[in-house]
Amino acid sequence: MAVLKKEFHIHKNDFFRAGEASISIKNLLKALGIRPQIIRRVAICGYEGEMNVVMHGGDGKIIVEICPESILLLITDNGSGIPDIPLAMTKGYSTATEKYREMGFGAGMGLPNMKKNADSFAIDSVVGEGTNVRMGFSLTSKKE
């Protein structure tokens, strides 16, 4: 089965280049003719993840795996980790979102919205070691 795998690095505090990986992923999906609605959800999740790494994470990477029927997005970092995942997953909970949004960064959406936009979502984190977020997108999904 043909699987296309790409890996991009995310650098700590690099606001200037944050988003580049998501743009590359987005353009890859466009070239493959994936439906715009799905590309949009992948792009939003990717960018949100990238911003999380840049703001709270440390160094990290974003890996995309494209299979004929699904897309897997894995975002991993070696940053500070999340002490209370259920709290971080609460809608409206944010550490600095509003401020960053006014600066023009970030979609101001956070983890709950990544979960909302992905078809499957898993997160694990160890304080002091880092965070992994795995998101899956079905190419046959009707989700808008």
Partner: protein, 445 residues
């Protein structure tokens, strides 16, 4: 002169081309390939931005048909002028420019002031209503620049739903134009010639215009640069004449500050009461920001004015004078003309409620999708592309005739180019062959 690429507005002169390939590298949709050193080939994803003409060092690329402007006196000739024309003669006031056009032989000069005002009113109303209805997603994107719309259709189709679903000012102007002119002059619609003078390369090929009414109504279009010398001459002649002989016609002279400002970056939103708006100009900047919107950024913005020319239409490829000089002159005029409104709000509100300003977006979208047929790649071909890139390890030298290594690899996978064209691979092969021969020589000895 060889006229290749009739698909859009680019005219290429092979005799002038020096084969430098700069045009190919700046093309935002990678629509240009160079074959056999200097034969230019334009692919159908050209959006008509004019960047190639801007950078061409030898003048081989022209963005307009090379027919001269002739006015048939037996017909009624009207001309629709872009607001940018008024910026091209610093120190002259708009009525003098209008008078010059009349001396050239035009029976009527039509400018866009009122229609810009209508558009701005409608846009403002739509945005205000959208705060409640959320009918369209934020940020809304200005539908005005045709190049931006084509760019969205080809590179960001997911953002078509962000485009404000209203008619562009020129479309508002064109509705029933020929009928109105024929009533005024008492002639048949077929005896009317409608010309358009514009700074925009994507508007000179009228049969490729964005909307059906433009394709139907505008007979010919000329770049400002192609009529400039003639118009300048007539305006100079007027200056030497007695003031009474001015062919002055007041109705043509209702040009507003809004109209003058329109051609500047931010000129569209300046006439609208929308705080959460911003203006972006330049083709690369436009692409960068469209990418960002697709990532979910700027959702707290309500309206974004995009123009692919630097500093907006004043920086159009078919203008004549320096864009900053034009801007300075226009700013001076705006102070005199003010930014007031000519039209009655009550009337405009009624027109809005009657649906007058809404454009058939679905039709336009499906037409756009048809104009730019998609050539998708499979996962396998994507892997092949990666393999080719790995093999080439090139420097985007573009000697192959494609703008960069990735595009070249795509062309190869699609069967449109040959891997043999890659000079880096050939050089490496030569070096290796040479090494082999040397080694062979050594062992013989």
């Amino acid at each position: 002169m060889k006229k290749d690429a009739p698909s859009f507005c680019v005219m290429f002169n092979e005799d002038l081309c020096i084969g430098c390939g700069i045009c190919m590298r700046v093309c935002p949709t990678k629509a240009i390939r160079i074959r056999d050193d200097r034969s230019f080939r334009l692919l159908d994803q050209c959006v008509g931005c004019g960047e190639c003409q801007r950078v061409c060092p030898s003048g081989a690329i022209q963005m307009q048909p090379d027919k001269p402007l002739t006015i048939d006196r037996k017909k009624i000739s009207v001309v629709i002028v872009s607001p940018v024309l008024f910026s091209q003669f610093p120190g002259e006031i708009p009525v003098d420019i209008t008078a010059g056009l009349k001396r050239m032989g035009y029976d009527q000069v039509i400018e866009l002031s009122d229609f810009l005002e209508m558009f701005q009113f409608a846009a403002e109303t739509f945005i205000r209503k959208n705060r409640q209805t959320r009918e369209a997603p934020w940020p809304l994107i200005s539908p005005v620049c045709p190049v931006v719309i084509r760019l969205i259709a080809i590179r960001f189709p997911g953002l078509l739903s962000h485009v404000l679903p209203l008619k562009r000012p020129v479309v508002l102007l064109l509705s029933d134009l020929k009928q109105r002119i024929s009533r005024k002059f008492g002639c048949k619609p077929k005896d009317i010639v409608v010309d358009h003078i514009t700074p925009c390369p994507s508007k000179v090929m009228t049969k490729h215009s964005l909307s059906a009414i433009e394709r139907k109504t505008i007979d010919r279009a000329f770049g400002i640069n192609s009529i400039y010398a003639a118009l300048f001459h007539h305006m100079e002649e007027l200056e030497t004449m007695e003031i009474q002989t001015f062919p002055m016609d007041r109705p043509d002279a209702s040009i507003s500050g809004r109209c003058l400002q329109w051609g500047m970056s931010g000129g569209e939103i300046a006439g609208m009461q929308i705080d959460k708006s911003m203006a972006i100009s330049g083709v690369q900047e436009t692409i960068n920001y469209l990418e960002k919107i697709e990532l979910g950024m700027f959702r707290n913005m309500e309206y974004i004015e995009f123009r692919t020319c630097p500093e907006s239409c004043l920086g159009g490829p078919l203008t004549v004078i320096d864009k900053y000089l034009a801007k300075s002159g226009v700013s001076r005029l705006i102070k005199i003309f003010g930014m007031g409104m000519n039209l009655s709000g009550t009337k405009l509100r009624k027109m809005y409620d009657d649906g007058y300003f809404f454009s058939p977006v679905d039709k336009i979208r499906s037409e756009l999708v048809k104009t730019f047929p998609k050539k998708f790649l499979s996962i396998q071909s994507m892997q092949e592309i990666d393999n080719i890139l790995e093999k080439i390890r090139g420097k985007n030298c573009a000697v192959c005739g494609a703008p960069d290594c990735r595009t070249f690899a795509e062309d190869v996978v699609r069967g449109e180019s040959d891997l043999e064209e890659c000079i880096v691979l050939r050089a490496r092969k030569c070096a290796e062959d040479g090494k082999d021969e040397k080694q062979a020589g050594k062992t013989k000895r």
